[in-house]
Symmetry: C2
DNA sequence: TCGCCTTGTGTGACCGGTCACATTCATGCC
DNA sequence: GGCATGAATGTGACCGGTCACACAAGGCGA
């Protein structure tokens, strides 16, 4: 213990915490001892005594899909900058008991919570978090659960889908079909809403959305179905992985993209620019979203941390090869 | 406190820890009180008093690339099953001081450490971990640092590269060019070794490996270079993202795959099966690798946890559309 | 010269648990 | 009946810090 090396015992604590009333000479001596002994204060003891943990646990159903992974990355960056520890708890199922158990574990870890509520498991988890725990939700749409005044962050999915749909309509397509990602709730997702809104404004027919999954396999299945319908000339996909599957299905069924059918994705995943054809998509700033989520939580946890305003970043349409004008009419 | 509700104070601890000598009636009473008050023992206090943390920190330079992300997923699965908490510390740079700081933070968190040493930052971090800390390394090759007897896990990259190269040679290609991922050290990577070994055994010429990066952009640049060389008929890439970039470059330069040039990747990323052409690659079980890493650490941390043998999973060649026989000779 | 305020430092309680030991009580044996 | 024995429970110290307060020394005005 630095006590022996230096002089006292509590004084060490004062030096470390930068307490003003320590004689400069004493401070010097203590600092020297700390340096020499390579002393580091025990984080566990600190947490127990002070109550502050400087830790954040992220609850999420997925860690690998582009959006999720980028959010995690953003949270980690910001957490590291604030000397916070980031733990991850994966929600393996949306089943009530499993979610409750995961939330319990996260609560036990102390510190703050960030829940990614893009799917039923995440939504349930967010609901299951006890009211007294500091938590920030990353949600699909701000039109969230009524009466819940917890802080949250989101991307403007509606606007993004709206832009992508208008882009396709602007190219001359009669209408745009939509392959949806699973919705976080039973309600219509923001992406679906934006797509529908654009169609309505243009007076275009509103086909039924095709239900997809999160990965390319779902897109592939949806693509095969849509390929059967010869009237389809434009497809918007709920994310780039779905779009990848759709592209593959169209290729296998001999439909050319964008010659016969245009395809647009969602999220601008890293590989989308390198596909053949490269994918038209809407870029969303998930990393920034993660950063905002942490900043918000940080503000809740420490009043010293000014609650940074979290500007909802504007989605950016990225036009590439996979979208073009529809084939000339017969 | 359950003390008041029940009877004693230490007895609660006994009940929770399943100590044998507690009268059944007392146990009942305490359990009832725990249930009623929703009592959960404080993880921080537990860690402080007992010294055991039930936490693992993973140090990694990346969280989003397929291999890294899958390893993290595997660790998390296993950690959750063992009621461990998983924290992630990202190594932002390979710079000495930055790495040291990251290791310090991880050490402060208590518990065990897993370091993904696939890159210079990771390798440095593994070296910087103090000897007394329980740590497992996920390394590129077992021919690691001499004199270091720490547990580690790895995939048989050499064998995987060997298989892929033999596959291409077996199709009739004169030789196989290689686009490398950055090596974790200055030494030749295991993948490069396996590739070279296959070439040698076949008596094929050994072209210089083309240096790539981790992402598709590097593959694209490498692909443009290789496309200039009309003698190139087969390209092995250090990972599937590089292969994606190569495919794109070949497409843009008008070379057909696999008609003129065959391409093979590495890792079998989720999207590789859906590319056009779908990608021949070598599947590696990164998730299993992550699970093994945790199991190994668990064994180090608690003698009760039997150190599961970690079979180095056999890489599996997945042949798809991107590889085929070379074009007929002139 | 006394009292008071300020500055610097030490002391004891506490955070919420675990651990080693002491204590109480019932039981079985000689 | 006395005593060793084991089961069931309580007590005090401790993990490594923080916090509130007590206390000693020095400077200054009255």
């Amino acid at each position: 213990m630095a006590t022996a090396a230096g002089v006292s015992y509590q004084t060490v604590s004062r030096v470390i915490n930068g307490h003003p009333s320590v004689k400069p000479s004493t401070r010097e001596r203590v600092l020297a001892a700390i340096e020499e002994l390579g002393f580091r204060r025990n984080a566990t003891a600190l947490a127990l005594a002070s109550g502050r943990t400087r830790a954040v646990t992220v609850l999420t159903a997925n860690t690998t899909h582009h959006g999720y992974a980028s959010i995690l990355q953003g949270i980690e960056e910001e957490a590291r900058a604030a000397s916070y520890t980031m733990a991850i708890g994966v929600l393996e199922s949306a089943e009530e008991a499993a979610v409750a158990a995961a939330v319990q574990r996260a609560a036990d870890a102390g510190g703050g919570l960030i829940v990614i509520a893009y799917d039923p498991a995440g939504v349930r988890a967010l609901e299951a978090v006890p009211a007294e725990l500091p938590v920030v939700g990353v949600v699909e749409t701000p039109a969230g659960r009524p009466g819940d005044d917890r802080p949250w962050v989101w991307t403007d999915d509606r606007e993004a889908a709206y832009q992508a749909t208008r882009h396709l309509l602007g190219l001359g397509h009669e209408t745009v079909h939509y392959v949806a990602i699973p919705s976080s709730t039973r309600r219509t997702s923001a992406r679906t809403t934006g797509w529908r809104q654009a169609l309505r404004e243009a007076g275009a027919p509103e086909p039924r959305p095709v239900q997809g999954s999160w990965g390319p396999a779902g897109g592939y299945a949806a693509g095969l179905r849509l390929a059967e319908d010869k009237s389809v000339t434009a497809i918007l996909c709920g994310n780039d992985d779905l779009a990848l599957g759709v592209l593959r299905a169209l290729h296998e069924t001999g439909r050319s993209v964008p010659g016969e059918i245009s395809v647009a994705g969602f999220d601008d995943a890293p590989h989308s620019a390198y596909l053949t054809p490269s994918l038209t998509t809407v870029r969303l700033d998930f990393t920034g979203l993660g950063r905002s989520a942490f900043a918000l939580l940080h503000g809740v946890l420490e009043e010293s941390a000014r609650i940074a305003p979290h500007p909802v970043s504007v989605p950016e349409l990225v036009v590439r090869e996979s979208s073009g004008p529809p084939p000339a009419r017969d």
